[in-house]
Symmetry: C2
Subunit: 301 residues, 2 copies
């Protein structure tokens, strides 16, 4: 699982800070999460192959999370894309994009599918045989969802020496990987646990931005491997969180701790601060395993 | 008169090429012409004071000419702008911007005034005591206007030695600047031309992008000081101009020559070409005084 931060700053794009966008590589998918202005250029800068982006998840319709989307959709068209593109976003975005395509008389030559979100409860919005994606209802000034990306359980690993010794036919390997007991060539029942090892644990990633401190997300993201939680402000500016419905680094860490997350990644920093090490220091007073998002940085998990 | 090119490339923004946007400084105005994605970052990079931008002119609703506008409007709001902002653009843009403000529940705290254009004939769309702006109907795939920015005639210059010798009262200087003959203190009529010099010639700038070769614009831009004319293609790719309704460098130069322009600035280059010197060479076979637009470059006229 690999996370590439294309942008992790709040509010407006500047010469050296990009608004929110990130690429999550998980089980051969390249999921684009949020798409602030300039995202298509950051995708190029980070050498992401455009054709591999097939699913885009938009948290909410504040500009710093989606103003780059219409340009990306338009560029895909100019590059004569044929692959389907699925967009998961709050209701309203389809209208915004459609009206702009209509005005420019530029319809996509690839299938563009909108999955408009309106539910205030967590929902399964994408699933295949390797991965599922659930919404995480957040508490922000407008309708907002985070997204939980979960690998499905991996297959059990074969202990080849034990299998050969037990005289199991190759036709049963598939069943063994799936956890079943099988008969060997002599008709003896072989216990699965004697000839297989536990699988690599399934990984998960929760994207939670933008949101006020919100304990109701904890049951949804419980035991998540990696939690990206916004930390717009430092604790000393906590008062700003109330009108803006954002979080401090300390609050993000508290959520990570209560959810028993593996790693916390902080981002969506306000531009009022000069550096970001204070965010890490503050979060680590509550939760040890903290990373700082940075534009152009990749993390492998 | 100063022209700053923020972006001069066609189609999609890339890591080292920006879509169309430019700032024209004329008679203390800072007019923003077109606003492709990333324009607000380019304004910062070129140290343009946001508050000085009060009028934005959008040629047409293809994304590479306006996708940066909604972000700029939104950033002005975040920066607590109070100054009026006027936008001159094809009908439809107001709806695009309004729907996005509604969805984000983020209305501007400054007056935002849309001047929607629909006429296919040239129109005076802005005027004050120093400058006027006219549309230039262009021939593109969708409704498109260029813009002609004209300084008004400057005042005549006083020949002070002659004025003192002629014994003219200071109360008449204003009239002299405006070109009138006046009586001197002895009641003798003094001819204006004997005591004043011709004014600095009024300058003008015509922005013509995007457009196919279109001779009908010549009467509108006749004698223009500086003509920015798109040259998406070179002559060897002239066939591409027909379906796309763009121009070659040679066609741009032909328009400049027939309009008797002072200087031709080329831009809106297709990304298919490696360098741009061939555009200048080609245009100069028809018209001598050619400049190449380049992102981040300023020209003083």
């Amino acid at each position: 699982m690999k996370l590439t931060i294309l942008g992790c700053h709040s509010a407006t794009p500047r010469t050296n800070t990009n608004p929110t966008a990130q690429i999550l590589e998980i089980k051969n998918h390249m999921f684009l999460i949020d798409c602030g202005e300039g995202t298509q250029v950051e995708l190029r800068r980070n050498k992401v192959k455009f054709a591999r982006v097939k699913h885009i998840f938009i948290s909410h319709l504040h500009g710093d999370h989606y103003f780059g989307l219409v340009g990306l959709i338009s560029t895909f068209r100019l590059l004569t894309r044929e692959t389907e593109l699925h967009i998961y976003a709050p209701k309203g975005l389809k209208e915004v994009i459609t009206i702009q395509m209509k005005l420019s008389n530029s319809w996509t030559n690839y299938p563009l599918v909108f999955h408009e979100l309106t539910s205030k409860k967590t929902q399964l919005i994408y699933e295949d045989d390797k991965v599922e994606v659930h919404t995480i209802p957040l508490d922000h000034r407008i309708y907002t969802n985070g997204f939980l990306f979960k690998e499905k359980e991996n297959e059990r690993k074969l202990k080849m020496n034990a299998i050969l010794k037990a005289n199991i036919n190759i036709a049963y390997y598939r069943k063994l990987k799936q956890g079943a007991d099988v008969e060997n060539d002599d008709g003896v029942l072989i216990k699965n646990k004697d000839v297989t090892k536990d699988p690599i644990p399934a990984k998960s990633y929760a994207f939670c931005s933008d949101t006020a401190y919100n304990e109701s997300i904890i049951p949804i993201i419980k035991e998540v491997s990696v939690l990206y939680h916004e930390s717009t402000f430092l604790d000393k500016n906590e008062a700003l969180c109330i009108p803006t419905k954002h979080s401090t680094a300390k609050q993000a860490a508290t959520i990570a701790k209560k959810a028993n997350a593996g790693t916390l990644v902080l981002g969506h920093y306000s531009t009022r601060y000069d550096g970001y090490t204070a965010f890490k220091t503050e979060a680590q007073t509550v939760f040890e395993n903290v990373l700082l998002a940075k534009d152009g940085k990749s993390f492998e998990f």
